[in-house]
């Protein structure tokens, strides 16, 4: 029950993953993965730990090369499409003790491939807009080390948005985040999708995934099911993907504990 995707538009053809297989340390982590994210779509990548969610994200980011298959972003391989990419990593890998303000950290994300020279007006404006969209304008001058968990997640989202990406990738955006930030993220992702951004996120949070995603993609080394949240009510699907019924996943709140 694969959803029919609209044909990618030439201006922003989103993401196309075709027949991707990845072997890491002799173990096949992914095989025959097909996945497309069209502009305006928000796709949630759901699966237990070890299902290959992060590996797939890394392949899309161009941080690892698949054994077979292709990844195309805006029709280009990841290395050629980095300007289109915004990446929101998990909070714990970030150096929050680095002495830098919110505004400077966001501007840095936009300027990162500019060698020397000063930031232009357009760069500062884009960074300021990104900070405003995550509701941190009042805290723009604050050191990142002084922020709460939710505020930190907003900084990471603003860093990705400052690059004005056509494809936004988020790794567990709702993990360890306060309710106001969760609500802000749900609203913001909805807006971005309306503006035509293609969004792909990994998540353990099924409730949030249902609230924000137009499609859910159940991954367990390969795509087990892919369709709108309402189309994934068949318990047999969830049993096949994770070995448990969806109701159990919802009861525990996360797919993680179901592994």
């Amino acid at each position: 029950m694969r959803a029919d995707h609209e044909n990618p538009t030439p201006e922003n053809p989103g993401l196309q993953v075709s027949g991707v297989a990845v072997t890491l340390g002799g173990n096949q982590v992914l095989h025959d993965v097909d996945l497309a994210v069209a502009p305006g779509e928000t796709v949630g990548l759901i699966g237990p730990n070890g299902a290959g969610k992060t590996t797939l994200l890394r392949a899309v980011l161009g941080l690892l090369t698949p054994d077979t298959g292709t990844v195309r972003i805006a029709g280009e391989p990841p290395r050629g499409a980095r300007g289109h990419l915004g990446y929101v990593p998990q909070k714990h890998g970030f150096a929050w003790d680095f002495p830098i303000t919110v505004a400077a950290a966001v501007l840095n994300a936009r300027m990162v491939t500019r060698w020397g020279g000063a930031a232009r007006r357009a760069d500062r404006d884009a960074a300021a807009r990104a900070v405003a969209r995550v509701g941190l304008t009042d805290l723009a001058g604050r050191p990142i080390g002084a922020l709460s968990g939710g505020q930190r997640q907003r900084v990471l989202v603003a860093r990705a948005l400052a690059r004005e990406p056509g494809l936004l990738l988020l790794d567990e955006p709702f993990t360890g985040v306060d309710v106001p930030t969760q609500e802000l993220l749900v609203g913001l992702l909805g807006q971005l999708a309306e503006e035509g951004t293609a969004i792909l996120m990994t998540t353990h949070d099924l409730a949030q995934a249902r609230a924000v995603c137009t499609r859910l993609c159940l991954l367990n080394r390969t795509v087990v099911a892919d369709g709108p949240p309402s189309g994934l009510d068949d318990p047999a699907l969830w049993l096949r993907a994770f070995g448990v019924a969806e109701s159990e996943l919802l009861l525990t709140g996360t797919a993680k504990e179901a592994t």
């Binding site: 980011l61 980095r82 990419l85 990446y87 890998g93 150096a95």
Partner: protein, 285 residues
């Protein structure tokens, strides 16, 4: 008092010492800021020790000690960067191996020499009072290049410090940047060797930046403050060394360490005394 301050400046070797100490201080601080912020202090130490066998080889071959020292330091730094990529071993472990290995190599090379002369010891403990004009020029040129390079690469160095994975995904050559930073650390160390010597060079690289970090939350302010601290420490160390006939390199390091301890105790917000004071009302409750 004025005479106490002006007297050393009347001697040409002290003028050169002041200039080299000031340049070393600034260069080490600018590069050292990233060393401290990335928790790489240990690699500074490894490179400083790796310079030792290079210097020993240069001594045996009668070559330029600074050049052979720099070459050995850069080879070690690059090897550490490459081997750390395997991720099977912790970076600290790899650094530890090279740190010990290169020092061992240096000792073996030195032991083959009958005459263990002052040339070599001056590299270990600094030779700031015995510099020629050409040394001063070399230090100034290398120092200027390093400061300019750090300024040019600041965005990329910050991005890699913040988050390697995202930096890589944005298309930054993270491994190359690591090696460039390690090479810059090596060059800064070789520059500072002249002032404080092989054993004490880590103090210039790490201590002023760490001291400044106690009191500021911005990289620019931290670097500027650390430059002022390091320059003050170097000049003050030289004065004390001159007037009381104490080892120049060691004295510079002692002044820097003293300032760090002071900051650790008294820095606003992060200092020990401040924390005590703000904790007191809680205890009273």
């Amino acid at each position: 008092m004025i005479e106490w301050l002006t007297e050393p400046w009347q001697l040409a070797f002290m003028q050169r010492a002041f200039i080299v100490a000031l340049i070393s201080a600034v260069v080490c601080v600018v590069v050292g800021a990233f060393v401290v912020l990335r928790g790489m202090a240990f690699i500074g130490d490894a490179v400083a020790h790796a310079v030792f066998p290079g210097v020993a080889v240069g001594f045996v071959l009668h070559a330029n000690l600074a050049l052979t020292g720099a070459a050995a330091g850069i080879v070690t730094a690059v090897a550490i960067a490459l081997i750390s990529q395997t991720r099977r071993l912790n970076e600290d472990t790899v650094i530890g191996i090279f740190w010990a290995g290169s020092f061992g190599l240096g000792i073996v090379i030195v032991s083959t020499q009958d005459a263990y002369t002052g040339d070599l010891t001056s590299f270990l403990f600094g030779q700031i009072l015995a510099l020629g004009d050409s040394d001063v020029i070399a230090v100034a040129v290398v120092g200027a290049v390093l400061v300019a390079l750090t300024f040019l690469l600041r965005r990329q160095l910050i991005a890699v410090s913040l988050d390697r994975e995202t930096a890589k995904a944005s298309g930054l050559p993270v491994l190359v940047l690591d090696m460039v930073l390690y090479a810059m650390v090596t060059a800064a160390i070789v520059v500072a060797l002249q002032a404080v010597g092989n054993v004490l060079v880590l103090a210039l690289l790490v201590t002023p930046a760490a001291t400044a970090r106690m009191g500021t939350e911005r990289l620019g302010t931290m670097t500027a403050a650390a430059c002022v601290l390091a320059a003050f420490g170097s000049v003050a160390g030289l004065y004390i060394s001159y007037h009381y006939d104490l080892a120049a390199g060691g004295m510079i390091v002692l002044v820097l360490t003293g300032m760090f301890l002071l900051a650790w105790l008294a820095a606003p917000k992060h200092g020990l005394l401040w924390k005590r004071r703000s904790a007191a009302p809680l205890e009273a409750r």
